[in-house]
Structures are given as structure tokens and as C-alpha cells.
Symmetry: C2
Subunit: 336 residues, 2 copies
Amino acid sequence: MKIALDAMGGDFGPRVNVEGALWATQQPGLSVVLVGDQKKIQKELHKTRFSSRAIEVVHASETIEMHERATESLRSKKESSMRVALEFLKNNDVDAVVSAGHTGAFMASALMVLKRLPTIERPAIAGCIPTLKGSCVMLDLGANVDCRASHLVQFATMGALYSKSVEKKENPLVGLLSNGAEDSKGTDVLRQAHQILKDKNLNYIGFIESKDMLKGKVDVVVCDGFIGNIFLKTAEGLVSAIFSMMRQEFQKRFFTKLAAGLFYFIFKDTLYSFGRRLDYAEYGSAPLLGLNGVVQVCHGRSSSRAIKNALWTAQKSVESHFLEKLKGELESGQVA
Amino acid sequence: MKIALDAMGGDFGPRVNVEGALWATQQPGLSVVLVGDQKKIQKELHKTRFSSRAIEVVHASETIEMHERATESLRSKKESSMRVALEFLKNNDVDAVVSAGHTGAFMASALMVLKRLPTIERPAIAGCIPTLKGSCVMLDLGANVDCRASHLVQFATMGALYSKSVEKKENPLVGLLSNGAEDSKGTDVLRQAHQILKDKNLNYIGFIESKDMLKGKVDVVVCDGFIGNIFLKTAEGLVSAIFSMMRQEFQKRFFTKLAAGLFYFIFKDTLYSFGRRLDYAEYGSAPLLGLNGVVQVCHGRSSSRAIKNALWTAQKSVESHFLEKLKGELESGQVA
């Protein structure tokens, strides 16, 4: 399997991408095509101690910078590293594309180059959210601020199939994020989607509150991109606030400083990893569902570990034949 | 000052209300009118060891149960304890009303009896959310699921005045909860409200993300009741998830059990109180703003401590002359 990586993407440029790619190719059967400024990539490759036969380099003369406007860069930079990588995928030269570059530009490029799947109106960012029982797939995490009921229904179908194929959950439970579990709750759009989902061939349990989602009551949670974003940032902000509180606590209580210090040392990692996993991108990457191709979006701040994880998640997605299965379902009319 | 308390409200009936009232009246200058089934109230009063001259009992023959439909109970139970308490407030026999009863019925009754303030289209539930720098006022926490831009603008003005008068913050910073700080973020409704708020006589800083709100960057956060509910339940769910993770951690690591146990013992309270403060109602109560009267909503699960806090918050609100100031601003046309 071959995955194209936008080697210029992310806040740290080629370094973390090259390191992540080398790390990822330790997995048998995976090779990575590094797309970007050949000189810079080669320089980074020489710097590392490792080498890998599973790495290829493909030159792309342009790079979309993080501060550029998505629409402008799309028009003006037709030879950008992310664009070249996506064209490779379109031509079946690679099986998937991963990028930690400008998220807006990457999503827009992917939509333009790969196109939407038939009957899917909007692609969605899906994330793997940690719960007390493991994890659940949440979508949309930010691609679509305003959603109609039909969009939410399509997200539900794609999320359920992703959970089943990639996360290997049998008959995944699907919920619609709302302000209460009763049928009377939700906004007008949510209640419309709720009615449609009841009749779908899904294991749909109805409205769910975020606290029950964190307990692990469902495998797939559907919401619009605005709510998804509020959820993620609230979770991220709270974990960080609790860290600060813990630090304050040590300063207050001298008599138990040792115990506190020890516990902090132990517990930090668990809490930190919980917090990190909440940030969809640092955890690895988030698949962009609804496009005709396997595409993974990474956060700009991604480390080499995050890039490695993103490549492995993309590999898992390709191996699961998720995209083929989704196309099959769409053709058989199982999706709204 | 006299505050009417719906003595029948809440999951625990008259007991916690009577205890909370006795506790609250230890504050000089506060007397409480217990409204409800006189026999039951007297029985609870006899049970407690304390007595107080600052307690009055007023009979109300009916009680709205927690499972009833708000609209039906409004029609059928005109002698309910919450209704009688609200009529007292309307007739200026008391200065405020507190109830831990059926939230929907209480809000509807308050709206019917007290009426909205002129130019305020929708009353909002305001909550005091803990932040790393203290707290901020957040509204709406659930009274209005779908909001127009004008509603959000009115919430901002009421919230700012509440923060200034009751929380004693000078020139409070106001933010609109969104999916990013840039002007281009938000939904259509949010961007409309954003434009209007820029021209208002408020210390408005623009869009704010929930993680920055938790850091304490603003004093007032405005959102619709759906988002407010998602925020609260995500926060509540996360704090509870982190508790569970901590417990799991002790079971895993035997060699540091003592340290972990000690730390848990110390830290539990901080975390618990943070979590409890996030639940607007357990923390005390949430003021319902926009009505012609000082009204505090409590959670059904309120303890006597929560009832006591609610009575004190209502007292603080009355003493601050918040309502008179708000009416003044509305009359002078300072509110949309």
C-alpha cells in the first residue's frame, strides 16, 4: 500500500513529516510518497539516522502557507504539495493522502480534485473521541457550520459504516447529540433528522447527551460542525483547566507535597493522553468522509508521532475497504 | 428582605427546603416565606433542632409534580406552591422567589405571572461558570433552544449588567461563544449578533472559544440555550469521566497506592467542587433574567445547602438593585 504525505504541511514543515513517514514505514506493507520541495525533503532525510526503502520523494514546486486564504491559494497554487498529492490519489497512484497543512485549503482541494461521493451533499470530519468504554466516532467536527437534516442523516450513515469497517464494531449504536434524550428535545433540524433516522437501516438509539456519550453509550455521535467544535474545545479547555488546578493544589498543600507530586507524576500521563486524544488531530488524524478517496486531515501542530499515527489510520481505513463499502451502500440506495 | 421559597419544589420535597431556609435565615436581614402544604412544612419545621423568627409559612393547596407536563399543570393547578409564591412577588409582598420544582412549569408560571420586561423578547437562564480566574456569567443555559440574533444581543446586555451589579465586576468583558475568534467564524445568526454587538455600549470583545472562556478571558459569555446545554453537559460528563479514570488508575498501580490514595483524598474536593459548580443548579441556583421580578431556578436534586445558596444569591441580586437598573437601561433605550 502506498500513501502520499504532504511533506510541507504543518507548523513544523518537512522535519516532522519525514520523521513520521520513516516511523510509519516500519509497519510492513506500507510505503509513503513524500510530496513537496525535493531539496528540503532530501535534506531532512539525510539528517535522520534511519533510512527506508519504503519512502519515495515526489517534487512539488509550491507550498500553501498556514496563513493564506483557502480560496485564493486554491486558484493561485496549482502545483502545491497537497494538490499534487491529491492528484496522485485521483489517478490511483496512491491509496490515500495525509496532510497536516492548511485545513481549509486541504479540504477545499480534496473536494475539488476528488469530488463528493454520489448523493453525499457535504463531506464531514470524523473524529475518534475517547470514552470510558473505549472510543466513539463523532462527526462532523468542524467542516460544516450550518447543517440541514439530510446532512446529519448522511453523517450518521457514513459514521456507522466507518465504525463498523475501520473500528471493527459490530452493529454500532448511533446517537444524535442533543440537549436531552426525549423526542421533544433538540432544535427543529435535529428533530427532523431524528424522524428520518428512526426509519433508516441503522442501530439508531435517538437523542443522546454529551455526558452519556462520554460514558460510552454509543459508538457513533452525529452533530453539526459547529456543535462538534464547541464540544472539542470545551473538552480540551476543561482538561487543561484541571491540569492548572492540580498544579495550584500542590502549591497550596505543603504537607502532602510528596504524595501529590508522586500522584501527579503517575496521573499526568493518563490525563494528558485523554486530553490529547480529545484533540482529534494530535491523536493522529481525522478522516474526511464523503469524498471519493481516503483522506486524513492532521492538526497543524502535529508531531512526528501524530503523522505516523495518521498514516497508520489511513492504512487501516484503506485495508478495511471502507470507501468501497460506502460506495456500494450509496449505489444500493441505503443512504439518503 | 423577604424571599418566597417554593417549599414543595425539588426531588426531596419540603425537608431540604425547610432546612435550606433555616440555614439561609442565619444571615441577618433575610426572612423566608415557605409556601406549600402547611401541615407538611410544619412537620419538617418541628423535626429540625433550629428555629427562626425569620421564617413564615403560607399555605398553598397544590403541588406541581416533577413528571407533570408544564403547560397542563399551569392550567389545572392555579393554587400550586410555585404559583402562589410568584403571585406574592407580583404583589410586592416578597422581594424574590426561589424554586427547585419543575423547571419548565416554574419558568412558564413566572413568565405568565410576572411578565417579560419591556423590549425583552425571551427570558434567559444565566449561570455562574467557574474559570481559572474566578467565574463568568453564561447565558442562556437552556431556556431557549432556537435563538435569533436580537435574543442573543438582549442576553448580552442583561448578562453584562448582572455581572456588573451582582458579581461586582467593573466594565465586564462580554464574548459570544463561537467556533473560533475570527469575524468569519460562527453561524449566520451569530455573525448577525456579532455585528449588532460591536455597536452596542458594551465591553464586547467578539467571538470567544469555550477553552478561552474557561481560562477566564471574559466575564460574560452569550450563547443560545442549546449550546449552553451542550457546554454544561460536556463539562459535567468530562469531570465525571476524569473521576472514573482516577479510580481506575489506583487499581492499576499498586506500588504507589498510598500516594495516589492520599492525593485523591486531597484533590477530590477541588475537582468535585469544580464539577459541582459547573452544574448551575447544584452550585446554588440560576437567575432567570428578563422577567419583571427576581426569580431563581434550582435543580430538582438540590440539597439544603443548594437551597441556602439560592436564597443568598437571590438576596444579593435584590440588594444590588439589578432589576431596577435593568429597567432603567431598557427605558433609556440602551437595550436592543
